[in-house]
């Protein structure tokens, strides 16, 4: 396999006396679907903020998409995709305007924006609603669009932060189809979720507890190790925080 897309060595973030992320060491390779789980307050958000170049680490080493987190945070931001629970698309803009806006932010040329918009509208079957404001579209469509827009600039890795919160069970599964297809094309996926069945769809999982890695392995290996049938049971055993807050 090629260069790892994410490599961290004892990556740590402190806020005063509080160690939010404690010596996180990860290596994630190209095309991998990597699930990042943990209880609320386990350090997931802080870790993602560091890996996306939004928060400077306190100590440890890390490269993301070929850039060092200390010296190349801007390079990291330009070479990753990010989609959060709250979509990040603009409800008051049309489908086409949303695409143009985000493509512009990522510095695509006018020619490329035109071409990308056409391709995207066709592949997502959104040609007929291209000039409809986003607000009136079903949640499932918005979600597909948000994912496609997040990877419009062809990043090496996309961070999906609870991408499937609040959607129906069919739409949730369709979203995972897109994740699988993208990973087949070589895109690395870094995903967080509270749905434990989705944890099973990942190639590898990292479960965080109190800022530390509580487990890092393939889902089937974790289930075998704990002698249980589902990731939910693994999670309940591992993620229970030892200290409160």
């Amino acid at each position: 396999m090629s260069e790892p897309v994410i490599h961290t060595d004892k990556l740590t973030k402190r806020f005063g006396d509080f160690v939010a992320v404690d010596a996180l060491s990860l290596t994630i390779s190209g095309g991998e679907i990597f699930g990042f789980l943990g209880a609320n307050g386990a350090g997931k958000t802080t870790a993602i903020r560091m890996l996306t170049g939004l928060l400077a680490p306190t100590s440890g080493k890390a490269t993301v998409a070929g850039f060092d987190l200390y010296t190349g945070a801007e390079g990291v931001k330009r070479n990753i995709g990010y989609m959060s629970q709250r979509f990040s698309l603009y409800d008051d803009l049309t489908v086409r305007e949303n695409i143009r806006f985000f493509a512009g932010i990522y510095g695509l040329t006018n020619q490329a924006i035109k071409e990308k918009s056409r391709q995207l509208l066709e592949s997502l079957k959104l040609v007929d609603v291209a000039d409809t404001r986003l607000a009136s579209l079903p949640l499932g469509w918005k979600q597909k669009l948000a994912f496609s827009v997040a990877i419009l600039h062809e990043p090496k890795i996309v961070f999906l932060d609870e991408p499937t919160g609040g959607v129906d069970p069919v739409t949730r599964r369709r979203f995972w189809d897109m994740i699988y297809e993208a990973s087949e094309r070589g895109l690395t996926i870094f995903v967080t979720t509270h749905y434990m069945d989705e944890a099973e769809y990942c190639d590898r999982l990292c479960i965080m507890g109190d800022g530390k890695v509580a487990a890092l392995d393939r889902p089937e290996a974790m289930k075998r190790q704990f002698g249980v049938e589902s990731m939910n049971e693994v999670f309940l055993q591992l993620a229970r925080p030892k200290k409160t807050e």
Partner: protein
């Protein structure tokens, strides 16, 4: 059984969107009743009508025998409502929020402490912390305490566990179980199908309509086709292969397995197995399984939409 909540033909429209349509059901005293559905299913609109915060366009609703439109003042004193959005005062401390809600309802924290002890005791080490600075799980416990502080007879919890991790979700449902044992009527909405089994009865909601209503076990009898669980190491390739089959009626991923229905009336496990092995899935396994709540929800959604999404 005495009814705590009665909903008869309730509809509500917001401009072009029909948020609720012809919803009819009743919830008995002491029942733990779940509304299961995604965003946009109408759960919040229904809860806001029952909590007397929104007027229905059609139909009528009663809470504790009182009409939600005419007797809203009386209802408000006797119910607890925890909205989906965190709506306590972020600038007040944990203890101040609780005291504030107690005083609004003309009571004191001490008077009903017994009821909230179980939940609030976990927050007490942080009682001087501002509510806005609490973690998600803690905010949820405080919001529940505030909704309970006046000892309501009916409790409305709108998506209390959305965005909350699996450990805190489990703890939260244990708390609901204990409240139910004390005889409180609880209406709760959730997008998590696995929480449905913890309710006495559930209603499936989709796009403003009720798809089904029954006990968690009863509702799965609405799933009428034989259901197979199929597993292979290469799950994604297996999913693509099954979808490409002309015999596939539905294929959905469920954790490490795929749940599959066939459009041939009496297809057997060994036939499916042989066909998949012939396609090169040497490690494939097929078994007949009982449909769960989520299988049933998906099947009813497809039925309503009139087409199977294979």
């Amino acid at each position: 059984m005495k009814e705590s909540v009665l909903i008869a033909g309730v509809g509500k429209r917001f401009a072009a969107i029909q948020a609720l349509q012809e919803v009819t059901l009743s919830v008995g005293e002491g029942e733990l009743f779940g509304f299961i559905g995604a965003d946009g299913a109408g759960k919040t609109t229904l809860f806001r009508i029952l909590a007397t915060l929104l007027l229905p366009d059609e139909g009528r609703a009663e809470v504790l025998g009182l009409d939600v439109v005419r007797s809203y003042r009386d209802i408000r004193k006797r119910i607890g409502y925890m909205p989906g959005k965190f709506s306590l005062y972020p600038d007040l401390s944990v203890a101040e929020n609780l005291r504030f809600f107690a005083s609004v309802f003309g009571t004191t924290v001490e008077k009903n402490y017994e009821l909230i002890r179980d939940i609030y005791s976990q927050l007490e080490p942080f009682k001087t912390r501002r509510a806005g600075k609490l973690s998600g799980g803690m905010k949820q416990k405080l919001a529940l305490s505030c909704a309970l502080v006046h000892r309501p007879e009916v409790l409305f919890l709108d998506e209390p566990t959305t965005g909350v991790d699996a450990v805190s979700r489990k703890e939260f449902w244990q708390m609901l179980g204990r409240l139910r044992e004390q005889g409180m009527t609880i209406l709760v909405s959730t997008p998590y199908m696995d929480e449905a089994v913890l309710c006495d009865r559930i209603a499936f909601m989709q796009e403003g309509r009720m798809l089904a209503l029954d006990t968690p076990t009863g509702i799965t009898t609405l799933f009428r086709k034989p259901l197979f669980a199929i597993r292979a190491r290469e799950t994604w390739r297996l999913l693509c292969a099954l979808r490409a089959s002309p015999h596939a009626a539905s294929v959905y991923a469920f954790g490490s397995a795929l749940h599959y229905t066939d459009n041939r009336p009496a297809v057997r496990v060994d036939e499916l197995l042989a066909a998949l092995q012939a396609e090169g899935f040497t490690d494939v396994s097929v078994s007949v399984i009982q449909p769960g709540i989520e299988d049933t929800f998906i099947a009813l959604m497809e039925e309503k939409q009139g087409s199977a999404h294979v």
